[in-house]
Symmetry: C2
Subunit: 481 residues, 2 copies
């Protein structure tokens, strides 16, 4: 993202020139994240500390939140306790908790030393929730109203106590026993007559989530019910936090990234790509490659067992890669559609038979189209010599075939491969539908284990079908096992 | 999603029993989307029309929005013009436009006949924006305030004119020449002193987008700047609409789904998976399989050209699949990380060299780990006979080798394959980084064309490296080309 109003050079220039007024002005007219990115690229981080000294903490708290983890770390080390306490005071608790998760232990201690005792307790509680649960992303700065208030009284109370809360757009309504009885959208409150009791205008059909719920489920709830914020309840069914839609935007993106990574065989990164170091990155990639390599043993084993057949009819070899690629690709298509459909809850394992019936018909049509095309294409490949096959291996005399006999021999090969392709696609779509559904039915993440298994199963099936057909068609010239 | 308060059976029962009061009650306590899903499964859609007759249109407009396209279609056909006009009146324009995009032409005409003339003009304009642009997802129901108002006056005006607007949480502030000069968050307005001029509390560092901007870019802006809503300007830099964060939630999910589909070789679906019919689905899958099959020709060609070498040393064949799989997998890992990083704008093609340097170091470490493991694994495979190789092909006498000589021969094979794996991973990560960056640099979507090309290039390179090394190591026994 470029912003013509700000650049690393410009901000360095202003700091070097101690142009305090200009720096303050920049915070008025430039979004904080653009300033933060410009600051991240400043070599001498001491210069950034100057900004924290001169600009109001209401702005710098935001700036601090938006800085990269590395910059944050350096700055905390250079700040005095007072400066630090000042920034931390203005930060939202959930942002602060996010920061703490990235910091080294000694800095965490220093940060915790510089927040109020009450807040420290909250932070410690939030830090204890398992990663990727509702508890770990919720904020505790929410506003509660009593259901007996009138609209005017409610607005008055919001004005008095709402400042510094994460959101006032969704308000939580309690009865006098502190049970959550409804939610209220601020706009309904604004439009309501001043005398109306809020219990009359609140939504009684609200949904809630619990601290241990997976963040992806929370995202699905917020999306499904088009919520601005959702209440998070603890195990005693007490309101302990809230999650807003803008937190969820990040969750949705992060979950999609994770699913894509998993399906491509990269273990999910804890931090962003750029913040993950080379060695860690390699450790995210290598294990999966090794695992897939081990699974690949099955294909190698089959090819080795049929070594004599492949040696007697070498034309079979060049098509092995095409067969395995197409099977893998067809399986990958279906697996991806399944994993994604399950992730966004378009369907669930209960719909298995319905989906399977659909995919098998898709496979039938896809298989026929691909097989017919492939048959023509393979004939063409042999005709123009991309793949050389003159039929000598299968002729009775051992000499190259010609004319109709050659065409028939080539047609047999092309037909054999195409038929295998067709069946391979059927198997691929069957396994590609069934395996993710099975894994999801067992309450595991289908993104994690489906793709390589689908490919492996399909590979083995395709090879066995291929070589089996080869024996049927060319049995007389192939040596037995 | 299950909801214990509602089910298809229950709602049918209420309709059959004409329990009007109970039906109305359900709308009070159950989220509309849950009612809509229960209704979607009712066989006799006439029953649903009964709901529209008995429940307030303020609720049924929402219900209508949430019904599946098929149900909508049937219901429109069964409704009288008056009923239809009633529902349409209460629907947001952007939801209505979404619906129209799914309906057959004759129903679109009927719907347009039943909305007010002014609204029809807006709808037609919105329908004209290209799909997936800001214009196509924006709403025109926004609220403008004059910058000279005081906070109290602003709130008064919102109460008077704000009802039925898409959002009042972000307000757009104009000067008297109708230029957009700022945005104002409702909470800042609520907390402000009544006398304060809104020009003093509005955000002057706001960002805007334009009608023709890609929706993914809009999503990135909203996410980056943590916005509740963003102003959409036309080509004359006039405010014509707004997009809210909850619209963006859908966009982010949809774009992630599209990217995943594209990378798996499925053309993006226009509708959801369940709403796409079997034949259309096959047409989304088949072309890509054919395209990949054609690209696979290069590998077949190489294998065919080296037919004699593979025949003379058949132990080379079983490892072909492992080499190609691992190359494809390693390339897929990097391609996915690149495509995703580019999509969420974590980096851009300008960062190419930095990223390439990182990935090459990752490749080096990954390659070494995988190659060392693979070498041991392949030796094991040959030792326990999963892959049979007794060295007869390479012995001077033609007899099986034994003892140290056999181990050396096997080590040569395993080393040859492992070295190829290592180099294949290097090539894969190089191509996997470079190609998506190149495509993105040319302003095309890297998700669309990267994966198959990366795999094809890597396959060809791996095979050439493999057979090249085979000639170096076993040259004396391999026939020349």
């Amino acid at each position: 993202m470029e912003n013509e109003l700000i650049s690393t050079e410009k901000i360095e220039e202003l700091i070097d020139g101690k142009k305090i007024k200009d720096i303050r002005h920049i915070f008025e007219v430039v979004p904080t994240i653009d300033i933060a990115e410009a600051c991240d690229d400043i070599e001498d981080k001491k210069k950034i500390v100057f900004i924290f000294k001169t600009v109001k903490s209401e702005y710098t708290a935001d700036l601090f939140t938006e800085l990269s983890p590395d910059t944050k770390e350096e700055i905390i080390q250079m700040m005095s306790d007072d400066q630090l306490a000042d920034i931390l005071e203005s930060q939202f608790t959930d942002d602060l908790v996010d920061d703490l998760e990235d910091l080294p232990a000694n800095l965490v201690t220093r940060v915790l030393k510089n927040v109020s005792k009450e807040r420290r307790a909250t932070i410690n509680r939030l830090l204890n929730y398992k990663e990727n649960t509702a508890g770990s992303i919720m904020t505790t700065e929410f506003l509660i109203l009593l259901n007996t208030l009138s609209a005017d009284e409610a607005i008055k109370q919001i004005r008095k106590t709402g400042k510094g809360k994460e959101t006032i757009y969704t308000l939580f309504i309690m009865d006098n026993k502190r049970n959550l009885v409804g939610t209220l959208d601020l706009d309904d409150l604004i439009f309501a007559d001043g005398e109306t009791k809020i219990s009359e205008i609140m939504n009684r059909d609200f949904v809630t989530t619990t601290v241990n719920e997976d963040q992806e489920e929370v995202a699905n709830l917020i999306k499904r019910y088009d919520l601005n914020a959702i209440a998070v309840m603890n195990n005693d069914n007490r309101l302990v936090g809230l999650i807003t839609v803008d937190d969820i935007v990040d969750v949705i993106e992060q979950e999609a990234t994770e699913d894509m990574s998993k399906m491509a065989g990269v273990a999910p990164l804890e931090n962003s790509y750029l913040d993950t170091n080379v060695f860690k990155m390699a450790l995210k990639c290598a294990p999966w490659l090794i695992c897939l390599l081990i699974l690949g043993t099955f294909s190698s084993m089959i090819l080795s067992k049929f070594e004599n057949a492949l040696g007697a009819l070498p034309i079979l070899v060049p098509f092995v890669t095409v067969l395995m690629d197409t099977g893998g690709n067809a399986g990958g298509q279906t697996t991806t559609l399944m994993v994604r459909g399950l992730a966004v809850q378009e369907f669930s394992p209960k719909d298995y038979l319905k989906i399977l019936w659909k995919e098998m018909r898709v496979a039938l049509i896809t298989g026929i189209i691909v097989a017919i095309f492939a048959c023509g294409w393979f004939l063409l490949e042999m005709y123009i010599g991309i793949i050389s096959f003159n039929g000598a291996e299968i002729s009775a005399t051992g000499a190259a075939l010609e004319g109709g006999e050659l065409f028939l021999a080539r047609f047999k090969v092309a037909g054999l491969v195409s038929l295998t392709l067709f069946l391979g696609i059927m198997v691929a779509k069957f396994v590609g539908t069934s395996l993710p559904m099975l894994v999801a039915g067992l309450k595991k993440d289908p993104a994690l284990i489906s793709s390589p298994f689908v490919t492996t199963i399909v590979d083995v099936c395709s090879l066995l079908i291929y070589l089996g057909f080869a024996y049927i068609v060319f049995g007389q010239i192939l040596p037995s096992l």
